[in-house]
Subunit: 266 residues, 2 copies
């Protein structure tokens, strides 16, 4: 392996640099992220999926930005990724970062989703219906990967997946998560593919305790305040409730979804 | 029931009012909350435990603040609580509130914890070990109440329970939660009382899947970055891991604790 000295690294020292402005826009602007199909992931651990090749092919690392405080041996891990490495002063990075204290490294990642095709023999999918909180969104994506779910479907106006708060809450799980926005014809496709549509409900559903699951499931977690939308609730082939003690009406959406996923995974 | 017109309500119109300054200090200052053993809960649902008498006696509602936008029929719910009602202009409330948009009502609550006495026959307790994130703290308190846990123990430097972010994340569950800071002699007391000390571990512990629990349990959830401290891990009588698929090392602390509590409750 070549030493870190041979890495081609470009050092940027002007705040007006066009590349720096472009990455700053990605951190701050949803519009920019959507137009470029790109987002920013911070931290070495979050980027390690491209070092060892485990990140899904629909997530393409395009650039790595590091600050002066990052040491050479650390940078060498990212050498073989073959990406443009851009170095900036520490205060530029702090200004760029969405974290209180930047780790000094971030990556620009392009997301190029593949068309949805349900696994034909068995599969578990998570459907998020108008989820609003970036922390919940990130936590659920993280749990879906942790419990081997095959993908996450987004229905209605959900919080943006690629905003920095959501990305951070995934704790590095995002590049292992297949994500789709639900397209017309989805419910028919799910039905024809033999999938159960399982809506969670605060009460009145089948109890999670003792519930058994078939090989093909789509678990629906609804909006934090209003639950699963009527449209999906009516189409659901099963309705599931987590039994709770008195004095609490519901669980946090990230918690409820994760408990159900934990029960459903084989 | 008397009409709302008969409620004794004091209207405050000066930003320099001493009572207004005192409640503002409670929202903003940890020191103030600790010195007065008081904190602020926002929203009508969060305060409903004092309307119907279900809040635990160690949580004492001391004042209710409402803004001009709150309508009279709403206020009447709080009439029989017999608390001082203080009314302020809407912009005062927005300034006071920790929420982006205030619901127009908040309560000042005093917390007077009772000494810890373990239930002798059976009980489930949650022990939070140096938990740092207010969202996780609030979510775990909410889940502990939801799963009928008998109380929450705080070990080491945890995030403050009564800061507005934590209180908000409990979603109204806080006044149903018994809370204690762990005192010296705790572990001996737990041991003598026949309680299992169950530490969660990212790996290497007994699998949660199929794990059976006795009648007396203390579940330990550790710091977000570093897990359960060595001190507690060594004392643990059981070690528990949630089996995860590849690519994710761990779950969110609030999720992991909630999944374990869901499994442990009878």
């Amino acid at each position: 392996m070549a030493g870190w000295e041979t890495i081609e690294m470009k050092r940027i020292t002007s705040r007006d640099n066009a590349k720096l402005k472009a990455v700053r826009a990605l951190v701050r602007s949803k519009k920019e992220r959507q137009e470029r199909s790109c987002f920013v992931m911070e931290g070495a651990r979050a980027l390690s999926g491209w070092v060892d090749g485990s990140a899904l092919p629909q997530y393409k690392l395009r650039e790595i930005w590091i600050s002066d405080k990052v040491n050479a041996s650390f940078v060498s891990r990212f050498e073989e990724v073959g990406m443009p490495l851009l170095q900036i002063p520490n205060d530029f990075m702090e200004n760029l970062s969405d974290c209180r204290t930047s780790q000094g490294i971030l990556g620009v990642v392009e997301h190029a989703p593949e068309p949805l095709e349900f696994h034909s023999d068995q599969g578990n999918y998570l459907l998020l219906d108008r989820l609003m909180d970036p922390g919940n969104m990130g936590t659920l994506i993280r749990s879906a990967v942790a419990f081997g779910f095959d993908g996450v479907l987004l229905h209605g106006e959900c919080v943006e997946v690629f905003n920095p708060k959501t990305v951070r809450a995934t704790m590095g799980a995002l590049p292992f998560s297949k994500l789709w926005k639900m397209a017309p014809g989805f419910f028919q496709l799910a039905d024809e593919s033999g999938y159960e549509l399982i809506a969670t409900a605060m009460e009145g559903g089948e109890s999670l305790k003792g519930a058994l699951f078939g090989p093909k499931n789509i678990l629906v977690i609804g909006n934090e305040a209003n639950g699963v939308s009527d449209e999906i609730f009516k189409r659901a082939t099963r309705r599931l409730s987590i039994p709770l003690s008195g004095n609490v009406e519901s669980l946090n959406a990230g918690v409820a979804g994760s408990i159900c996923m934990c029960s459903m995974r084989s």
